[in-house]
Amino acid sequence: MSPVMPTNKFAWLLKREFWEYRGAFLWTPVITGMVMLALVVFGLVVAEHTASRAGVNLNGINFNEISAHLNEGNAAKLHAGLTIGMLSLGFPIGVALFFVLFIYGIGALYNDRADRSVLFWKSLPISDTETVLAKVVAMAVIAPALAVAAMIALHLGFLVLTSLWVLAHGINPMLLWAPGNLLALWAKLILLIPINALWAMPSIGWLLLCSSFARSKPFLWAVALPVVTGVLISMVHLMNSLSLPSGWFWRNVVGRLLFSIIPGTWVDAADLRSFDHEDRLPEALNSLLSVDTLGHLLSSPNFLIGVAAGAAMIAAAIYFRRKRTESYA
């Protein structure tokens, strides 16, 4: 008899999550990325077509002049613009990740009770804690990491396509490539996975708790409970102007429970205002993911209380995983 190796066992649990949700975790971001690339191609074709119809000669002079006058500051602006372009190009992958995680979280500890296959999983020497933690890791790390990989592939695809396009117009495509910027962007995206994961803890915990707790209709529990509570608080707030903080509740409870799994929702709206000024674009981009900003985030009560609440809800999900063997739907 070989000794039990817990880490190895956990790896098998993660593999199982990937097997079951291969379509959601892998193919959703890949296909979303491919759709975005198709849109880029479409955009370039339309640009060519419109330009030729309007009689604008894209070849030669204009672009060459631009590139000739591209000094250091302008190049930085161009690259910052490209970076922002690539970030926004990847945004739909982030939105898709939200839907993937939401659907996954709701079903993770419910579906196998509904179809009774939980009885098979429970016949194996796996603790409920291990089972639930594997699902937490799937939501916090595996799905986001695959989404980031798809974003990086999308960025590369975008740069290759636009390079080909400018090359066709006789411009040196190397102007578009700033390896330092690219690596910095990708490093940040990768480093943000753990930050996003910690920020997402209240949502991950809440969805898994509903999935583990509900005897039927986990989706209704997950959505209706916070929303109805919010509506009630808002109504009381309107009726007798008791100073119940309804806006605060929507933002910090409902929002955090349901939407924290959208990557980057921790970015303060105030920080985005500096993006309005074209001149400060490079600095704004740097400050967005700077040590200062992140330090500020990591020490904020919103963040810390969220992590603690998430951990508590995960513990509750483990408790109900033990109690509820079968759904009674």
């Binding site: 008899m1 098998w12 649990l13």
Partner: protein, 295 residues
């Protein structure tokens, strides 16, 4: 626990319950059940619907809370479920394998998480079926799912195998094969099998022990040998039926104009005077014992 159980004969029981109770609302699913299951036995837990069979199995497998004392392989299933599942296997009903799972993935996964699983034996069992490694469970027929489930579970070197209605909804070919595989490939004197089923006739030849449960209580707990000594069925000619009734039979039924009486604990020599003696079938014994359950 690694001592040779069969040689010593009466080592620690595999399952020991004392005052095991479980209440659902106002009904007692299990009502102070006392129970011992010795190693190396094949025990049939038989009872009508709602008698508490599944609740008892769930308690043994650590899938439900309960009152009273229960130890399985010396462990409390409530607190040591994960350790217990290294030594205990169960098939709870057929067709509970996840439908999205591929056969090959199922084998890999169980091999990865279960230290007592033998991949070679599992592949050997699967090779005797039409189940293919690339197939998903949802592409398999119900019988094939059972073959897969058996191939996954029977190759685990476990001390206790619990089967809850393992052949429900299967046709006769698969049912036969199921019990043959169970006896030939799995069972040995160091293993214990606890099985519930409604198809009593099919398992009565393989059982070593019989437990009848009714309304959450054990109404019969005996070895098959003891059952044969204690109970007897007598085919009585019409002129002797009054004499037979005087001995207070458990039940009486008519077959081809003759009366068949089932007796509990009456000296077999006395009964032989009334007519032909038979060992009662478990099914007849069950019907006689459970009389009035649904009334």
């Amino acid at each position: 626990m690694t001592v040779d159980n069969a040689a010593t004969g009466n080592t620690a029981p595999i399952v020991r319950a004392r005052g095991l109770s479980k209440r659902y609302g106002t009904t007692m699913a299990l009502d102070h059940v006392d129970l011992q299951i010795a190693p190396g036995r094949i025990v049939g837990l038989i009872g009508p619907n709602g008698a508490g069979k599944t609740t008892a199995l769930k308690a043994i497998l650590g899938l439900t809370e309960f009152d009273g004392e229960l130890s399985v392989l010396g462990l409390d299933p409530r607190t040591h479920r994960t350790e217990l599942m290294q030594q205990v296997c169960f098939i709870a009903d057929v067709a509970v394998l996840p439908r999205w799972l591929r056969v090959g993935e199922a084998v890999d996964f169980v091999a990865g998480v279960h230290p007592r699983f033998s991949r070679e034996k599992c592949m050997g069992l699967l090779a005797r079926t039409k189940v293919q490694p690339t197939q998903r469970v949802r592409e398999l027929s119900k019988g094939m799912i059972v073959q897969l489930h058996l191939a996954l579970v029977m190759v685990i070197d476990a001390k206790l195998l619990v089967l809850d209605e393992p052949t429900l909804g299967l046709d006769i070919l698969y049912r036969k094969e199921f019990y043959e595989t169970l006896l030939n490939d799995y069972f040995d004197h160091e293993k214990t099998i606890l099985v519930t089923t409604h198809q009593v006739e099919e398992i009565e030849r393989i059982l070593t022990d019989l437990i009848f449960i009714r309304d959450g209580r054990i109404v019969l707990d005996a070895s098959m040998d003891a059952v044969g000594e204690r109970y007897a069925e007598v085919m009585v000619a019409p002129d002797k039926t009054d004499a037979a009734r005087a001995l207070k039979p458990l039940s009486e039924r008519q077959v081809f104009g003759k009366s068949i009486f089932l007796f509990d604990g009456i000296d077999h020599a006395r009964l032989a005077a009334l007519g032909d003696l038979h060992k009662p079938s478990v099914a007849d014994l069950f019907v006689a014992t459970m009389k009035g359950t649904y009334a």
